[in-house]
């Protein structure tokens, strides 16, 4: 599937895109937790 065609069904890119978004937000939450830990210390 060409990128310009968008996506009509799940493929490797969409699955990877979903994983990247979840990993990025997960990482962001871990940073947030670390910040809270730093403040409480």
């Amino acid at each position: 599937m060409k990128k310009s065609e968008g996506f009509n069904s799940a493929n490797k890119d969409t699955l990877l895109g979903f994983s990247i978004e979840m990993a990025a937000v997960g990482g962001y939450l871990i940073l947030g937790f670390a910040l809270c830990w730093l403040m409480v210390r």
Binding site: G6, E21, C36, V40
Partner: protein, 503 residues
């Protein structure tokens, strides 16, 4: 009215009729939920709502069938604003018939709160509300986030010639793909993938804390819809605090942060442009402002020892900050605690977070990270210009899907919208004060309404004055459509009245 203008008016009503039919058809989902849950009286409310909405929609289309084949930009903007108003009244019919609200005004307030993904509610006895009504509340929020106009584009519009103008009128002006129908489908594809994954994860979390399977599934679905649409409605009056589950809180945070992302960003990342996730000006802006505000707030809360340990600070303080910044409005503390327990700095940080909000072309409200980023870049450009020799040309760039040169027009537009939001926030504060509410509550609630957030200090309730309910409803509408579509509607109405007066 001349023939051409009459035809133009008919065109607006014809497309509005299509959207109203869509609202009627959507009532089938809560109707089915009511039947499955054996709530026969509530099912009847939805049958009546369905009948009225579809009849009104088809009648409008029948009466205005001789319309123009294409719709203009102005017509599109007017359809967007007008259909929101009519949909608000029609979607409130099942609410009113159900008896869970004290007045029709309260029903309209809640529908607007759902459509605009705000999350403030005037419902009575939320903990015992029927499944059908809860499904309708959350569905409105979910669909409001995705855009009722986009929904209409995918399922209802016969000719696509004027489709993009309708779509742009709903404050989602990023064209992801050349064809607007493909754009709408791309948005729905992303949303449906998250719907399946998010609901499954939340249902599993519900089962892990001992909820019955059917209830865990329904709560999972509803909370997902509220999180992804950054709406903030919850099936229980204690919001997310009700579940007392770290897993539930982490999953909702993941969902509402992702939900506050720009759809163009989702599309870019999901089609292989993975670098966009750390280059996009909106995400950089969100990261910087949220980190700064979280640092300030958690510093204050740690200093005042508001929460006993790191976990409590994360699950209460941090959660509320991010819930406010993404304009979701889920709560893990009681309403009065914002005013009574949080220190002044944490309170101010939360107000700022609510006003800034999430990304443009997303489900989030506020004046958006994109505009904050652009104004910051414009400021940097001006400083560079002042420091450079007179003959030097300074060019500032920003990355939003592609690298673009910052033009003066962008900064001007961003500033105008930010000023409009701040002006509306000020009006909200003054109105609250005029009704005799204390300053802090007034500021908090006005920020929550302006940013379409839904966090509450306790001011919003069925007992609040009717004038304030009307004002809040109008503010939510104005903020969600980012002023322009509503102002165009009022401009057209004013012009029509002026012409009639001149005769």
């Amino acid at each position: 009215m001349s023939g051409g203008k009459w035809r133009s008016f008919k065109t607006i009503l014809f497309y509005t009729g299509k959207i109203i039919v869509g609202i009627g058809l959507l009532m089938v989902i809560p109707l089915v939920t009511s039947v499955i849950s054996r709530e026969w009286n509530i099912a009847l409310c939805f049958v009546i709502g369905f009948g009225v909405s579809t009849a009104a929609g088809y009648l409008l289309q029948y009466l205005c069938s001789e319309c123009e084949p294409r719709i203009s930009w102005t017509q599109g903007m007017t359809v967007a604003a007008l259909s929101w108003l009519l949909a608000m009244v029609l979607a409130a019919i099942p609410y009113w018939l159900s008896g869970f609200w004290l007045s029709f005004l309260d029903c309209i307030f809640d529908v607007m709160s759902g459509f605009t993904t705000t999350g403030l509610t005037l419902i009575q006895d939320l903990d015992h509300v029927s499944d059908g009504i809860n499904m309708w509340r959350h569905l409105l929020s979910y669909l409001g986030g995705q855009g009722i106009i986009v929904l209409a584009l995918v399922f209802l519009t016969r000719t696509m010639s004027g489709a993009f103008t309708l779509y742009a009128g709903e404050a989602k002006d990023v064209k992801l793909l050349p064809n607007v129908v493909h754009t709408a489908k791309a948005i729905w594809f992303i949303s449906l993938v998250y719907l399946i994954v998010g609901t499954a994860a939340l249902a599993a979390a519900g089962l892990s804390i001992g909820m019955a399977p059917y209830r865990a599934f329904l709560h999972g679905l509803w909370v997902f819809m509220a999180a992804w649409s950054t709406g903030g409605f919850a099936p229980m009056s204690q919001s997310i605090l009700y579940y007392h589950s770290l897993l539930y809180e982490v999953i909702t945070m993941l969902l509402f942060i992702v939900g506050s992302f720009n759809f163009a960003l989702h599309y870019a990342v999901w089609t292989g442009n993975r670098r966009e996730i750390y280059r996009n000006i909106e995400l950089v802006s969100f990261f910087v402002t949220s980190t700064l505000l979280v640092t300030l707030a958690t510093f204050e809360m740690a200093k005042l020892q508001v929460y006993p340990g790191v976990m409590a600070l994360f699950r209460r303080g941090y959660y509320q900050l991010i819930s406010g910044h993404t304009t979701t409005g889920f709560m893990t503390i009681y309403a009065r605690q914002f005013i009574n327990e949080w220190g002044s700095l944490a309170f101010v940080a939360l107000i700022a977070a609510m006003l800034i909000g999430g990304s443009a072309s997303s489900t989030a409200g506020g004046f958006k990270g994109l505009r904050v980023g652009i104004v910051f870049k414009a400021l940097v450009q001006d400083i560079k210009r002042l420091m450079a020799p007179d003959s030097a040309v300074t060019v500032e760039k920003f990355h939003f899907i592609r690298t673009q040169v910052l033009e003066a027009e962008y900064a001007k537009s961003a500033m105008l919208i930010i000023m409009a939001y701040i002006a509306m926030f000020s009006v909200g504060v003054v109105a609250n004060l005029l009704y005799g509410y204390p300053l802090l509550e007034s500021i908090f609630e006005a920020a929550s309404v302006t940013g379409n957030v839904g966090l509450s200090s306790g001011l919003t309730s069925a007992a609040m004055p009717a004038g304030l309910k009307v004002l809040y409803t109008f503010m939510m509408w104005l903020a969600r459509l980012e002023f322009m579509a509503v102002l165009v509607l009022f401009g057209l109405l004013a012009r029509g009245v002026k012409r009639l007066w001149a005769r």
